[in-house]
């Protein structure tokens, strides 16, 4: 194997992996705190991509500049979905009436609903949102590197650090961590658990909102685009460790690197199968994921 190609594959694997990790951050947070597999995670990403698209089409706003608009919008949407759709189920679950699987099914329903509403509203045509940033790629030594991907990967690192600091040093962050550890004990300590849930879900969606705007300049936008990212995010989160912020990035980079390198030796569909094999293998050895704490 040509060392140039192999080094390039490494570089690319890290960039794509970090991007996947950034997209999975919100899912990891929701997963860790609410113990809910948010099946609609990819759909929220799709909505963020369309938000960037429409803001550009109607208002001429660059996808990078649409972050401050899309993030609060997505926060509000996530907050409402948790409050109106999932909240009632959790309240019943506290009374030990509902199995956690129903939350998964509920979010799957939200996913189908959002995807089909998007299809009705936006049509099936593939769209794109080019950024006014004209430097599409630059040379890193001998390697042409896509600057949009570098921005997305760097943003994923910044977001992960930001969320980690916020969880560690703010009241709401502490409340979220306490709720993640033991929701009943947190409630007895005076923490408003339903509010924590709403904020966490909103924050998870806001994170995916930010990443959506940042990947919009290079990802084709269709109503189905969320599904691929949703499944990848799920793998990344479980691999990295449920609820672990750093784990999300590590999981993403492991998958990104593995797929990028394996694809140089075998056909891409085979590489994807191998990456799922790696996923199973790691979970067999570390059921809590790479960065998750053993319980």
């Amino acid at each position: 194997m040509d060392p140039y190609i192999l080094t390039y594959a490494w570089l690319n694997g890290i960039l794509v992996g970090a991007m996947l990790g950034g997209i999975a951050l919100g899912l990891s947070l929701i997963f860790g705190v609410l113990r809910i597999v948010n099946f609609a995670h990819g759909s929220f990403l799709m909505l963020a991509l369309y938000t960037a698209f429409w803001l550009q089409k109607l208002g001429g706003i660059d996808p990078y500049l649409s972050v401050p608009i899309a993030a609060p919008l997505m926060f509000a949407l996530g907050y409402c979905v948790q409050c109106i759709v999932i909240g009632p189920l959790i309240r019943r679950e506290r009374a030990l009436v509902v199995e956690p699987i129903s939350a998964l099914l509920l979010t799957a329903g939200v996913c189908i609903l959002i995807d089909n509403l998007a299809l009705m509203a936006f049509g099936p045509n593939v769209r794109s949102t080019p950024s006014a940033l004209r430097v599409g790629s630059f040379m890193l030594g001998p390697f042409p590197v896509n600057s949009f991907r570098v921005i997305a990967a760097a943003a994923a690192l910044v977001l992960a650090t930001g969320v980690w600091l916020w969880l560690a040093h703010t009241d709401m962050g502490r409340a979220i961590r306490a709720t993640a550890q033991n929701r009943d004990a947190a409630a007895m300590s005076g923490i408003d658990v339903p509010l924590v849930y709403n904020v966490t879900f909103g924050l998870g969606c806001a994170l995916v909102g930010v990443m959506g705007c940042l990947i919009a300049p290079f990802i084709p936008i269709t109503p189905q685009v969320g599904l691929t990212f949703g499944i990848k995010s799920f793998i990344v989160v479980v691999l990295g460790g449920i609820g672990s912020i750093a784990g999300s990035l590590v999981g993403g980079i492991v998958i990104g690197l593995f797929e990028s390198l394996a694809a140089q030796f075998v056909a891409t569909p085979t590489a994807s199968i191998f990456s799922l094999g790696l996923f199973i293998l790691i979970l067999l050895m570390r059921p809590q994921g790479l960065m998750g704490a053993a319980k």
């Binding site: 299809l119 045509n125 084709p220 269709t222 189905q224 990028s260 891409t268």
Partner: protein, 421 residues
């Protein structure tokens, strides 16, 4: 006759008259509308192309109805009923079942994706319902000895042959030929079947295949595959990808400034989809070669009012004009309309025989760019052919066959390197 028997006789007369009236009106109802079922991917990965076909079918139905309907059936009107396959084989089959059993359609068309068309046509065959294939190219669709399945458009073998024929024509004109080919294709029925045909034909023509790579659908990154192509150093790349993947791949290829001496040759798919061109910077698709069942610059030479009407409808409904999928939807419906005229009946068996006897050499069914539509014993239109275009100066121009090439079209071969564009 007693008053009682008289009353019974009157009652019998009324019942008989009533039943006759019902029979007559029933027949009149059956004649008034002919239902055409069309299974298409209206959502899912190929939804854009499915919706284009839908526009073509609707345009033809409305044109035929506006022109007085099916005259041999007393002016019967056509009605198109659509089933959404979501690009999934199982959904396509259940939609076919619904259209045959519940909607009782006279004839079916669709289903764009080969993977859907293959099992769905089997169901149509079992139910003795004629099916006019639209878009699907997998060879075996018309190679199973079926009686009710007909295909107007190219089969995969033709697509592959035409791509290599176009390369051979350009080589003949310039003296520069492709020696090393790379294949990159979606891993479904269409892509695999296309690649298999290219492999077979390339071997016959002594062209080396130096990279042969399937791609899972809906990728988020193609860098790894582009790296493989870069390290294989092919002369030309043959692509068979659906629109979203095609868009991502094209962008990344342009960003990486990957030079291919004889360019990118796409077999329809994303590169024939107008929404693809709307979503991408024109510089990224410069010198793209696209093989498709549609002469993309036909409106420059053909100003038929029905073609212009279909183009106008497409613009109103889709935001862009005619495309291969619109043209094929239109063609299929006109073939069905013609068969209904000759059969004088919407009865499935009669209609099947009429479709089998189709021989069209003029009219809107040929808007795709064909010279004739006539099916062989397997149901394949042997006169189908695609047109290969090259994107020159921001405009897609037909370059193959040479008869379809405009006088002012000068193909660029080899294509300039990125640094010199």
């Amino acid at each position: 006759m007693t008053p009682d028997s008289k009353r019974r006789a009157t009652l019998r007369t009324i019942v008989a008259a009533g039943s006759m009236l019902l029979v007559v009106s029933g027949n009149a109802g059956a004649q008034a509308i002919v239902k055409i079922g069309c299974v298409l991917p209206l959502s899912g990965g190929s939804a854009a192309l499915g919706n284009q076909t839908r526009v073509g079918v609707m345009a033809a139905v409305e044109q035929i109805n506006a022109a007085g309907g099916i005259k041999a059936m007393g002016g019967a009107k056509l009605q198109a009923l659509f089933g959404d396959s979501q690009s999934k084989a199982d959904v396509g089959v259940s939609e076919t079942e619904r259209l045959i059993q519940r909607e009782n359609v006279a004839v079916l068309c669709g289903a764009f994706n080969s993977a859907v068309t293959f099992p769905a046509t089997e169901l149509a065959e079992r139910n003795k319902t004629p099916w006019v294939v639209v878009g699907a190219v997998k060879d075996e669709i018309t190679e199973r000895g079926f009686r009710y399945v007909f295909r107007i458009n190219n089969k995969a073998t033709y697509d592959a042959r035409e791509q290599l024929d176009a390369m051979a024509l350009l080589a003949k004109e310039t003296g520069k030929s492709v020696q090393r080919l790379a294949l990159f294709y979606e891993s479904g029925d269409w892509g695999r079947s296309h690649a298999a045909n290219i492999r077979k034909l390339a071997a016959e023509r002594k062209i080396g295949i130096i990279l042969d790579e399937p791609a899972p659908p809906n990728q988020v990154d193609f860098t790894s595959q582009l790296l493989k192509i870069r390290s294989a150093k092919p002369d030309a790349l043959i692509l068979a990808l659906y629109t979203p993947d095609h868009l991502l791949f094209t962008r990344q290829l342009a960003e990486q400034r990957l030079d291919l001496t004889f360019g990118v040759h796409s077999a329809g798919g994303g590169a024939e989809d107008p929404s693809f061109y709307a979503a991408i910077d024109a510089s990224m698709t410069a010198y793209y070669f696209v093989q498709e069942d549609w002469q993309v610059d036909i409106l420059d030479t053909n100003q038929d009012p029905l073609l212009l009407d279909a183009d106008r409808r497409a613009r109103a409904l889709l935001g862009y004009g005619m495309s291969a999928s619109v043209a094929l939807g239109l063609a299929a419906t006109y073939v069905i309309g013609d068969a209904l005229e000759r059969a004088g009946s919407a009865e499935r068996d009669k209609l099947r025989d009429a479709i089998a006897a189709t021989d069209l050499s003029s009219g809107p069914a040929l808007f795709t760019g064909y010279q004739r539509i006539k099916f062989d014993s397997a149901g394949q239109n042997t006169f189908a052919h695609g047109v290969v275009s090259e994107n020159l100066g921001g405009k897609r121009r037909a370059i193959w066959p040479s008869e379809n090439r405009a006088a002012d079209t000068r193909p660029v071969w080899p294509v300039p390197a990125w640094a010199r564009r």
